[in-house]
């Protein structure tokens, strides 16, 4: 699986949404991405990429696009969308 596929499926599986809904998605943009959903997403991403995120990055992880920039700090490069 490409990093993008892994990244996308963390969102779609955690929030039960479809891949087409991901671009532009922001924190609290869907009901499932509330504070509890945020913890589930962070845990899913840490596990999927084998990383430990800093608390500041977890707080600043405010959307689908912003998250890709944050993951790049952990040497996780999300490929451009096909």
């Amino acid at each position: 699986m490409s990093n993008r596929e892994t990244y996308d499926s963390a969102f779609t599986e955690t929030f039960m949404i479809e891949a087409k809904d991901l671009p532009g998605l922001k924190y609290q943009g869907v009901a499932a991405w509330d504070s509890v959903g945020h913890m589930a997403l962070m845990a899913a991403l840490e596990e999927a990429f084998g990383i430990e995120m800093d608390i500041d990055d977890i707080i600043e992880f405010s959307g689908y696009e912003a998250g890709q920039a944050i993951l790049s700090k952990y040497n996780v490069a999300i490929e451009p969308a096909a």
């Binding site: 509890v36 913890m39 589930a40 962070m42």
Partner: protein, 401 residues
């Protein structure tokens, strides 16, 4: 090894007591990490967790990245092994506390018998159901064999029987409960970790509150809310006293902080009428009992503030609930030496140099304060708690020279 007796308890999770496997594991054993990882995942994706942020916080705490961080911080200076059987008497005031206590015992490598309080918290059922499902999975056979979660009505006979076979006890509760449990005869090598009544307070720097951006103020308010109101000011780490550093600007800072707090409470907190009455009654009692109480201010029924012109040495005996605070302004934090004693646990701070405060606690040789954390972190329980390194205390060193 003394056999585990059959006792009249309700088995909530795990098999009969007499079949419990008491052979310990080393701290942070792979079996335990795999189990807590599975528990974290299961709880974070359970629909009921959405209703209970405290379950989410527990599940998030036991995610693998955090456990890996804790394991590194624990280090490997000594070869270690769990002590054996840990008995947990969990408290009723914090619904998910039993789960943390259990996780500490597990991470240290122990077999565990956890008495869950019968307090009707739905959180306990959600967590126990998840534990039971994992115990049934053959992948977690070893952890399932080593652990039991039980209920029984308060009984010194049952607690006494279990105490005689335990190598460690984690006793959560008020002073009276802890003293009674500690009077029971225990296994000669048993280590007791007693979490008795504690008192906590908050220090806010007046300048920092005045200079904070609206965003920073909003996060301070949310943090203070989490520390106090998530558990109705009943947690041992929730603040009862608010000390303002900086007498010159304290009034202005209070005039910024408390209205923002009240506005947040209006939209976030369901205030029970009985709590409003309790606070008023408590205010009357305070006015009679506390000569240092110079004035009071009420923000709707959400927040009651009692202004202290001097800090009484016994301030920790005067505590309210559900949003009742004592307040005092000072320019010199060495005034803490006049009030702090063993009962003091957590100081939450904003705009204060926490490292310097810790150094000053040590330099003054204060008999209390185990924790200095930012506002918002009061309830974040962890493997260092009440001044104990819990994984260290709950495991033994196998030394070689």
């Amino acid at each position: 090894m003394k056999p585990v007796p059959d006792l009249p308890v309700t088995l909530r999770v795990g098999g009969p007591l007499r079949t419990i496997e008491r052979r310990p594991l080393p701290p942070y054993a792979p079996e335990v990490l795999a189990f807590l990882t599975a528990l974290s995942k299961r709880l974070l994706t359970a629909p009921q967790t959405r209703l209970h942020p405290d379950i989410a916080a527990f599940a998030y705490w036991c995610r693998p990245a955090n456990l890996a961080r804790l394991q590194r911080a624990f280090g490997a200076a000594h070869a270690r092994l769990g002590r054996g059987l840990a008995l947990h008497i969990a408290p009723a005031n914090v619904p998910v506390n039993f789960a943390f206590s259990f996780a500490f015992g597990l991470l240290a490598g122990n077999a565990n018998i956890v008495r869950i309080p019968d307090a009707g918290h739905p959180q306990a059922e959600v967590i126990c159901d998840a534990l039971a499902a994992l115990f049934a999975d053959p992948a977690h056979r070893r952890v399932a064999a080593m652990n039991r979660l039980i209920r029984y009505p308060r009984s010194d006979a049952i607690t006494g029987s279990l105490s005689q076979i335990a190598q460690a006890r984690l006793l959560w509760g008020g002073d009276e409960t802890v003293s009674r449990l500690r009077a029971l005869p225990v296994h000669p090598r048993c280590v007791d970790i007693a979490f008795a009544d504690r008192y906590s307070f908050c220090i806010l720097d007046a300048d920092a509150v005045l200079e904070a951006s609206d965003t920073v103020l909003a996060s301070l308010v949310k943090g203070f809310y989490d520390d106090v109101f998530l558990l109705d000011q009943n947690a041992c780490s929730s603040p009862h006293l608010v000390l303002w550093q900086g007498t010159a600007k304290a009034k202005a800072a209070q005039a910024r902080f408390w209205p923002a707090m009240t506005a947040y409470l209006e939209k976030s907190y369901a205030l029970a009428p009985v709590h409003a009455v309790d606070k008023f009654v408590h205010l009357c009692a305070t006015a009679i009992a506390l000569p240092e109480a110079a004035a009071s201010q009420r923000h709707d029924n959400f927040v009651y503030r009692v202004v202290l012109d001097r800090l009484p040495a016994d301030i920790e005996r005067h505590r309210g609930r559900n949003g009742f605070f004592y307040e005092h302004a000072t320019d010199d934090l060495t005034c803490l030496a006049g009030i702090v004693e063993e009962r003091y646990q957590t100081v939450t701070t904003f705009g204060i140099d926490r490292d310097a405060l810790v150094q000053s606690i040590i330099a003054q040789g204060l008999s209390g304060i185990d924790r200095v954390v930012p506002v918002g972190k009061a309830l974040d329980i962890g493997v260092i708690w009440d001044g104990y390194d819990l994984i260290g205390e709950l495991s033994r060193i196998v030394h070689t020279a």
